[in-house]
Structure formats: structure tokens, C-alpha cells
């Protein structure tokens, strides 16, 4: 499961970790094949051959009174066939140089053994050294896939619960409030808040169009806080079943001429900011286009407050409405 590329991304790391975690979490017992077909040491090879064919198996442990004596595989049968010695007993051809594994060992132990040896199957013993099952690579793959499927179902359940959050909770007015502190000049994390809000909306069952419009509006507001404020500011998104109210506020320096700031192309951004692809004077214009209502209040004393509302019922929004 190791990544081929030397650079392991966070996402890869996440995936690997989950499978690796599972390989450590899952016990051999949980993935092994139980009720294994066993051979007696005195069985004749020809009978073993018939059994393999009938049961469609390619190997079987040889036991006596529950104790493991060896393993008979297809290769051992071929060996006997080559020597035209099918009348011999299983005992004569079985492999006795055995590598075994314990039922409560983590799956990763079996993976290591498969990697180190050339065995296709390992007998599984309990604490009293009795044979309780057999494990193959196929068993492990199935076990891991089943476990991942269980994880997936759990995630689906979370998603389902999130999207029914507002139906499950009864109140006069239910809302979910998300708050993010935005630091002045923090370009590296710029967009984190908008990404998280967009993800939350999708999880809550908002349409991709609504999530996208909210994301763009919040992203522009977030970049404004990073670029234009004295100390950064706060983003607050209140999600209700019928609307999303977003607010970006800071403590200064305030916008001198709000009407002018709303004009497309008007910008006070520095060249450095422009080099980053922002500050083209389109931010507020973009926001206005994305939301149903927008209100910008600013003063030198109290800083700037930007209110944005997006209604969830309306499919087509009116870009000209300003609250």
C-alpha cells in the first residue's frame, strides 16, 4: 500500500493511514476463513487430489486431533504426480516447515509474513495451538474492503445526519453558525474559511450552485480582510434552512468612499497584492453578483461590516438587489 512517488501528499497519507490503521486494527480472526477443510495425515494422495478438485481448493492443512501437522498444497500434489506416487500418504508429501499465525495477531503480521516468505496461505492457530482457520491474501483484501465499506457507510450516515440536521432539531428558529478569525496578511491560509464553509454547506445538503456562490462571495470577503484591514477580522456564516447570512467585519481602517469602492475596477490594493492575482477592484462586484442581498457599512471609527444574504429557495437570484 506504500505510495510509489516519494512525495506523499496529505490526501495520500490519509488514505494510506486508513488502510494501514485497519491492517493494525483488524485481527486475523476477523478476516480469516473458518471451517477449513482439513486432511488426515494417513489420507492417500489420490484422495487428496479428488478432494481438492471437488472442493475447488488449492491447499489444505493436515491435522490430527485438532493439532496442525503440515500443509498440503497443489505443488505438493504435482510433486507426487511427477513421481507417479499417488498411492502415498499425505504425510509423505505435505510441507512441515510451517509458518503459522495467531488468531489475535493484527492483519499486518500476516501481510509481513506474505511479503517475507513465498507462502500463499498461513494456518491460523489459537492459544492452545489448535488450528482455527486459514488466511490468504484474498482474505485480507476482502477483510480490508469490508472494513472500508463499513467506514464508508459510517461517513454516509454522518452526511445523512448532517443533511437532515434541520429536520431533526425542532425549534422556533434553528440555525448553525460558523465563525472564522482571519489574520491580516495571512495569504497562505487565505481561502481556508471559505473552503470550510463551502464544504459544510455541501455536507448539509446545499446544491453545488449555492455552495459555489457562497464560496466565491466569502472568498472575496476573506481576501479583503487579509488585504485591506489593520488587524484582520471575522467571518461569520449563519446557515438556516431557507437562507445563509454571511458577515465579514473588521475594526478598521474603514472604507473612505463606499460608493466608489463598489465601482468595478476601483482598488486601493498594493502592487504586491496585485501580483498575487487580487486587488483588481472586482471583489465587491463579484460578491454582489453571487449573493441575493448585500450591504456594506463602513466608518473610520468602527471599521467595515459587509452583510451578505443568499436565499436557498430562489433558484435564480437578482444580482441588482442590495439590501
Amino acid at each position: 500500500m506504500a505510495a510509489k512517488s516519494p512525495l506523499i501528499s496529505d490526501e495520500n497519507a490519509e488514505n494510506i493511514t486508513r488502510v494501514e490503521e485497519l491492517a493494525y486494527e483488524l485481527r486475523i480472526r476477523e478476516v480469516m476463513t473458518k471451517n477449513v477443510f482439513c486432511l488426515e495425515p494417513d489420507t492417500v494422495m489420490e484422495v487428496a487430489l479428488d478432494t481438492f478438485q471437488m472442493e475447488r481448493i488449492s491447499g489444505a492443512p493436515v491435522t490430527s486431533g485438532g493439532k496442525l501437522l503440515g500443509i498440503l498444497s497443489i505443488e505438493d500434489l504435482i510433486h507426487a504426480l511427477r513421481e507417479s506416487n499417488l498411492t502415498a500418504s499425505v504425510r509423505e508429501y505435505m510441507t512441515t516447515d510451517l509458518v503459522v499465525i495467531r488468531e489475535f495477531d493484527p492483519v499486518v503480521e500476516a501481510l509481513k509474513t506474505f511479503y517475507q516468505t513465498n507462502f500463499g496461505r498461513l494456518p491460523v492457530l489459537n492459544e492452545s495451538d489448535e488450528l482455527v482457520g486459514i488466511i490468504t491474501k484474498g482474505d485480507i483484501t476482502n477483510g480490508l474492503l469490508n472494513a472500508l465499506q463499513r467506514d464508508y457507510q459510517a461517513e454516509e450516515l454522518i452526511r445523512y445526519r448532517a443533511s437532515h440536521l434541520f429536520e431533526d432539531i425542532v425549534s422556533a428558529r434553528t440555525s448553525l453558525i460558523l465563525r472564522y478569525s482571519i489574520k491580516k496578511g495571512d495569504f497562505v491560509h487565505g481561502g481556508n474559511a471559505s473552503s470550510n464553509i463551502k464544504r459544510a454547506l455541501l455536507r448539509l445538503g446545499a446544491s453545488p450552485q449555492i455552495a459555489r456562490r457562497c464560496g466565491i462571495a466569502i472568498y472575496e470577503a476573506e481576501m479583503n480582510l487579509i488585504i485591506h484591514t489593520n488587524h484582520g477580522g471575522t467571518i461569520r456564516a449563519e446557515i438556516e434552512p431557507h437562507k445563509i447570512t454571511m458577515e465579514a467585519y473588521d475594526d478598521g481602517p474603514g472604507i473612505e468612499d463606499v460608493e466608489l469602492a463598489m465601482k468595478p475596477g476601483y482598488s486601493t490594493a498594493t502592487n504586491e497584492v496585485r501580483e498575487m492575482g487580487f486587488g483588481a477592484g472586482m471583489g465587491l462586484v463579484n460578491i454582489k453578483r453571487c449573493v441575493d442581498e448585500m450591504k456594506l457599512i463602513s466608518s473610520k471609527e468602527r471599521g467595515t461590516n459587509l452583510f451578505m444574504i443568499l436565499y436557498l429557495e430562489s433558484t435564480d437570484h437578482n444580482p441588482n438587489t442590495i439590501g
Partner: protein, 124 residues
């Protein structure tokens, strides 16, 4: 257009880890101003740009962009690649310039996903 095909057309190099097999873009847009991108790009597009900071990836995630192509042989900083891997947005770099890369893709049948906006800057 399959992203793998797009990479061939512009003789690009893939910078992110995830496989591009079966992944497609519906069209493309070229721009260096992220506000322009946010204002006018339609979902499922490829973005051709000369801008290499993490903001490009953020913009892509917010605007549902399916692939980012850096032009003029630019290589973004490691933090941009890390973020792109995290957000699962493929990054591709090509030695062609913006005009040339756009032209090659347009000639290969890739459509523009830039919507016209009424606002312009003449009034400022």
C-alpha cells in the same frame, strides 16, 4: 476533454500525485486575475494561468475548477502543490505561453468556459 489528452496536447507535466485517468474538463479559461476567474469561470473548467501561489488552488476549489495549468514552464511552490494534493486538484505545467497553450487547446476543440460579464472598468 480527458485531462490526460489535454496534457499531451500542451506537452505538459503533471505535478500532483493523483491519477488523472478518467478525469475530464468541460472547457477552459485563461487568466491571471483570480477575481476575474471567480467572476466568470463556469464549473468543471481547466484554468490556464501564470499565477503560482496557493490562492490559485483555493480559487479552483471554490469555483469548481477541475485542473490548473501553469504556463511559461512555471513551477509552483511546494505549499501550492501540497494544497492541490489535499484538495485533489490536478496541477499541470507547460513550457508554452498562455496565448499559445490556450490556442493549442482551442484548436483541439476545447471550448471557452468564460462567461461574459456586464461590469467593466471603464467607469472607474
Amino acid at each position: 476533454m480527458e485531462i490526460n489528452e489535454l496534457v499531451k496536447i500542451i506537452d505538459g507535466e503533471i505535478l500532483t500525485d493523483a491519477s488523472l485517468n478518467g478525469r475530464e474538463v468541460a472547457g477552459a479559461m485563461g487568466a491571471d486575475l483570480m477575481s476575474d476567474v471567480l467572476a466568470s469561470i463556469q464549473p468543471e473548467a481547466a484554468l490556464l494561468t501564470g499565477l503560482c501561489n496557493p490562492q490559485v488552488v483555493r480559487t479552483a476549489q471554490i469555483a469548481d475548477i477541475r485542473a490548473i495549468i501553469f504556463v511559461r514552464g512555471k513551477h509552483p511552490a511546494q505549499e501550492t502543490i501540497l494544497l492541490a494534493n489535499e484538495e485533489d486538484i490536478p496541477l499541470i505545467t507547460t513550457r508554452h505561453g498562455l496565448f499559445e497553450a490556450c490556442g493549442l487547446l482551442y484548436a483541439a476543440g476545447l471550448i471557452s468556459l468564460e462567461v461574459k460579464t456586464e461590469e467593466d472598468c471603464s467607469s472607474s
